[in-house]
Symmetry: C2
Subunit: 456 residues, 2 copies
């Protein structure tokens, strides 16, 4: 209550926050209030229709193909595949046939061919693993064509699209799940269980990040290099917030008793991509003409309605060992990853971190997540990213097959994705505070934990 009071106090401030922030507020509120005036049915806790889903996929580059392999390992039924590049669709089709299923129908060759696939009546579920700018139109078309959809991260990249996926999900009664694999990592699920066992006391703060040197990939002539570098010419802010933010949001119960209230953001200048191309490209290379505006490091601070704070960082254009930080702290203890280490009040004499290792002897083994106990071996054998991809898709299929609500719904997709455009707006206002829209319109108070935390 005290902290909700604080939130209201803070809200009062925002209307005084001048040009940039005011624009922001009205922009988000404009949509919000317009939206609130409309009747809508919340998609919170809405179960999938129970069935063995017939799955169609669009986007079969590196990421899509990796997802497909995990799906096939989990005996998912793949009925159709779409990629603008024919050979990618064909190669994926070969994998499906090899797995013992019949040849899926291939849709390829043009930008909008995915619509034909999504129109099919014999498809129940769509998986979208295309470049970021295609996520929103494809997810919206998919839901409108009567399919539940799952979209890769970052779900969407504008505040308007955050609202569109929410409204379209509510209007169609179809789910829009974001494929935030990091929420299913071994450590992430272990810590989530330890938090719900009370080991950390009252949570206070957390930190998540995407610190990954992608300079070589961004200048590659294949894969993400074909489109992802362009994002660095369009936006200054956190381009890719959900890997770090998703797990911390689950720890804190965001959209489950708490929600993001407001954010401030700060970026460094851009130097990394300029330096890299100077060292690696010819002076006459057309890419030398691109103008990059994404600051090399973006740091954003999020305040929740309950007063907790989250630090979110993003750099893909500077030398840095891979790190998602994945930190959570409460009144009784703190965990941080890379490497995984933990400290609890009085844990040891010299107030030192203790490593958290995934071994049978680990003192924390009893908190291992049941999904990992059940499927860990399969996950490590098949799964991308140390198995988290397999666990995520296995669990998604479980929810579809058993007719459960998805662990991550459209409100999570919207809230986690909104940090991208909101960080951009804060920067334009000289790091001014920017409010989060309440995509749930109050429903966030009605549940209290991620299903990942509570499932047996």
């Amino acid at each position: 209550m005290k902290e909700l009071g604080t939130e209201i106090f803070s809200r009062r401030r925002f209307v005084q926050l001048g040009a940039a922030a005011a624009v922001t507020a009205s922009a988000t509120y404009g949509v919000a209030s317009e939206d609130e005036s409309k009747p809508h049915r919340s998609m919170m806790n809405v179960a999938f229709e129970k069935r063995e889903p017939r799955i169609a996929m669009v986007g079969l580059g590196g990421r899509g193909t990796s997802l497909l392999k995990d799906l096939l390992a989990a005996d998912a039924k793949i009925v159709a595949l779409c990629d603008i590049v024919q050979s990618k669709a064909e190669d994926a089709g070969v994998l499906v046939v090899k797995s013992g299923q019949k040849q899926p129908e291939l849709f390829t060759g043009s930008d909008r061919i995915y619509e034909k696939m999504m129109d099919r009546k014999d498809v129940d579920f769509l998986i979208i693993a295309t470049p970021w700018s295609w996520h929103a139109p494809m997810a919206l078309y998919g839901m409108r064509s009567g399919k539940d959809v799952a979209v890769e991260v970052p779900g969407v990249t504008t505040l308007e699209d955050c609202w569109k996926i929410v409204k379209t999900s509510e209007e169609t009664g179809k789910h829009c799940v974001m494929l935030e694999n990091c929420c299913y990592g071994y450590n992430e699920t272990l810590i989530l269980r330890m938090i719900h066992s009370g080991l950390f006391g009252d949570l206070l703060y957390g930190e998540g990040a995407y610190l990954h040197d992608l300079r070589e990939e961004l200048f590659s002539n294949k894969g993400e290099g074909l489109w992802r570098r362009t994002e660095h010419t369009l936006h200054n802010g956190n381009l890719y917030p959900t890997h770090g933010l998703g797990p911390v949001s689950n720890y804190m119960g965001i959209q489950r008793g708490d929600r993001f209230a407001y954010l401030v953001s700060m970026s460094t200048p851009e130097r990394g991509l300029d330096d890299y191309r100077k060292a690696h490209l010819q002076p006459n290379d057309p890419r030398m003409q691109e103008r990059y505006i994404t600051g090399d490091m973006n740091t954003s601070l999020i305040k929740t309605a309950a007063g907790l704070t989250i630090t979110v960082k993003h750099t893909v254009s500077t030398p840095h060992p891979y790190d998602r930080i994945n930190q959570i702290a409460g009144t009784k203890g703190i965990f941080q990853d890379y490497p995984a280490r933990i400290y609890f009040d009085g844990l040891n004499q010299d107030e030192a971190w203790e490593p958290v290792e995934n071994t049978p002897e680990s003192k924390w083994k009893k908190y291992e997540h049941p999904l990992w106990t059940r499927e860990g071996e399969m996950a490590r054998k098949n799964g991308g990213h140390g198995g988290m991809d397999y666990i995520m898709l296995y669990r998604l299929l479980e929810c579809l097959r058993e007719g459960l609500a998805p662990d991550m719904d459209v409100y999570d997709a919207a809230a986690w994705s909104s940090v991208g455009p909101l960080s951009e707006q804060s920067l334009k206002g000289g790091s001014a505070p920017v409010e989060f829209p309440d995509f749930t319109r109050g429903e966030w108070k009605k549940r209290n934990a991620s299903a990942i935390a509570t499932l047996a």
Copy 2:
């Protein structure tokens, strides 16, 4: 230039930032402009009068006594000692006599007795290691009585006092040095030299912190427990910013070609001290009536005039292994402490951190700071905090004895200390951006590196 443009753009925003921020701006500017209208002589690069300084100390508790031991080990001449508690002054006097010097005059028994000591004509230099609220009045009185002064961290705790020490230093021509020992740590000085050798490329961002579980000390009935807990009933913000911020400021050349432009700040709720006393005090203990308002974790983001960003964190009321983070990153590499680790572009195949160890075999040994090469053995034998206290005082004495300018001047003390009150102001404005006053009035552009970086 481009980034100075950005700064100006941001400045424009501030006047639009509404209630809280506007108050802030006028408050800081009020003083600033009043000040600019006055003639003043900058104390930047002003040398100490060359002599063997006759030193008087006020505050001989745990910290003051530790400093005294280091001073005696460096053959400093101690002529007078002051503490309100007679026994503390007497015990310190015994140490001075034991070192072979004659009995220093003791000033004790009353609040203002330090003024009598500072009035003495046979004192050249004052060292102040008293509770925070006494730093400003003692430093001001000391300078006005014609002495150069050194004050413990955090130098001062209000923006008004930041300006007062600057103006008084300029009016009296006496220095006000803040004893920021962390600027002299082995790793801090090593990394500063590596930065000036160009190993990190163009600097982009850094992070400093004071993450130190002081709950037991804060509730102790002696030492800092007698007064430091009170600060938690008075201010919400970063109470103790300089240990983390000083070294990062030296890396970036703050007041030396760059300066702090603005900050935003965010705090968690306060839970730690409440939980601790509930577990450790009797219900009828008078301390159960205290109301703590300092959020357990404060995170502040600072933007510099050149566009670089600094994250500053503070928690002393939650379980956490000791950590100052001490991170600095540029276009070519990154360093972070606790434990000390480094990564440079292409340093190794798997893009992994390499430990930085202080061993003769260390590949970074050639960057060891000359102060540590010269005095490291003495420092480790005598010095508090792994030797950094000795190195700091040895260097301070060197500057006094050789008639050099101090490494850290009143402008550093004011800028680093101002993060405390500015974080408090930002929080009151709902994390609104708050501008830093330019305590140097433009002089920050006239030098380009900390003397610690360049001395041979």
